[in-house]
């Protein structure tokens, strides 16, 4: 139990620190690399929560495909250095205040939820096949078959859209 707690705390600190470094680093390439670290820690959280399939999907799709696409575009545009001056001076403090308000609101909601339902329970014991690829696949192809098929259409539309948007106008 204590080792579990220690692992969670270390990973949580790494996740928050990498997210903050993503936010404040001046170079977009560094931001992308910090975000990959963050996605990796979230994949480990998925493993701790008993969903190995989602952890692997997170690594391959997010940390792999999506972030490689980001790095490609950053390097293609050569726009990784950021402009220093701010045109709206009041915007940054206002954004920080609004962010703190959002954090306090979510904290209050979680707090009231834990009061309302007694203490939120700790995890139940694992079922043997909870979160396994077999269980998720069975659920996906029985209950969620229609959304799954619609997802394929969505990916096709996204592919065609990306090609059309980046096509050279003059032939």
């Amino acid at each position: 139990m204590t080792s579990d707690y220690l692992l969670f705390m270390v990973l949580a600190i790494v996740a928050v620190a990498s997210a903050l470094s993503m936010l404040f680093s001046r170079n977009a390439v560094y931001s992308a690399l910090f975000l990959i670290i963050n996605f990796g820690t979230i994949a480990v959280f998925y493993l701790l929560l008993g969903s190995p399939f989602l952890a692997m999907a997170q690594i391959t799709v997010y940390a792999g495909a999506i972030m490689v696409l980001f790095l490609f575009v950053i390097m293609l545009l050569g726009a990784e250095q950021l402009r220093k001056e701010q045109t709206l001076i009041w915007q940054q403090p206002v954004a920080i205040i609004l962010g703190l308000i959002l954090l306090m609101e979510t904290g209050y909601i979680i707090y009231s939820l834990s009061i309302q339902e007694g203490i939120l329970p700790s995890f139940n014991t694992f079922l043997s096949d909870y979160g396994s690829p077999t269980a998720i696949g069975t659920l996906l192809f029985n209950e969620y078959l229609l959304p799954f098929e619609i997802t394929s259409v969505l990916l096709l539309v996204a592919m065609i859209g990306a090609i059309v948007l980046t096509k050279d106008q003059k032939r």
Binding site: Y5, F8, A12, A15, V16, A19, M22, L23, A28, S31, L35, F39, I42, F45, L48, S51, L54, Q58, V61, Y62, I66, L69, V73, I74, L77, A79, L82, R83, Q86, T87, L88, Q91, A95, L98, G99, L103, T106, G107, I110, S114, L120, P121, S122, F123, L127, Y130, G131, A135, I136, L139, E143, Y144, T151, L154, L155, V157, A158, G161, A162, T166
Partner: protein, 99 residues
């Protein structure tokens, strides 16, 4: 490990992502912050699905991941198209509809 700590972590990550959208002026970094917010929501989904011992939350996260992949492809294509006309991806330069 009480499940509430996962919700707190998810809230913190979501707030950092929202701050990134509000503070940063680089369109690509804003996009990355949106991805961070999606991931925070996914973490809450998985924690809730663990809490209530159901797999539906995990299936939903699977759909969110696919939609995020499609969204990133289209969004980055848009950024490339905007960069071609304006030679900049600073969102302050995108304030007019004309070229």
């Amino acid at each position: 490990m009480p499940v509430i700590s996962y919700f707190i972590l998810s809230a913190i990550l979501f707030t950092i992502g929202a701050l990134g959208v509000l503070i940063r002026r680089n369109a690509i970094v804003i996009f990355m912050s949106v991805e961070l917010m999606l991931n925070a929501a996914n973490l809450a989904f998985v924690a809730f699905s663990r809490l209530y011992d159901t797999l539906s939350g995990q299936v939903f996260v699977f759909f969110v991941i696919t939609v995020a992949a499609a969204e990133v492809a289209v969004g980055l294509a848009l950024i490339v198209a905007i960069f071609r006309t304006k030679q900049s991806i600073d969102v302050d330069d995108m304030s007019s509809l004309k070229r």
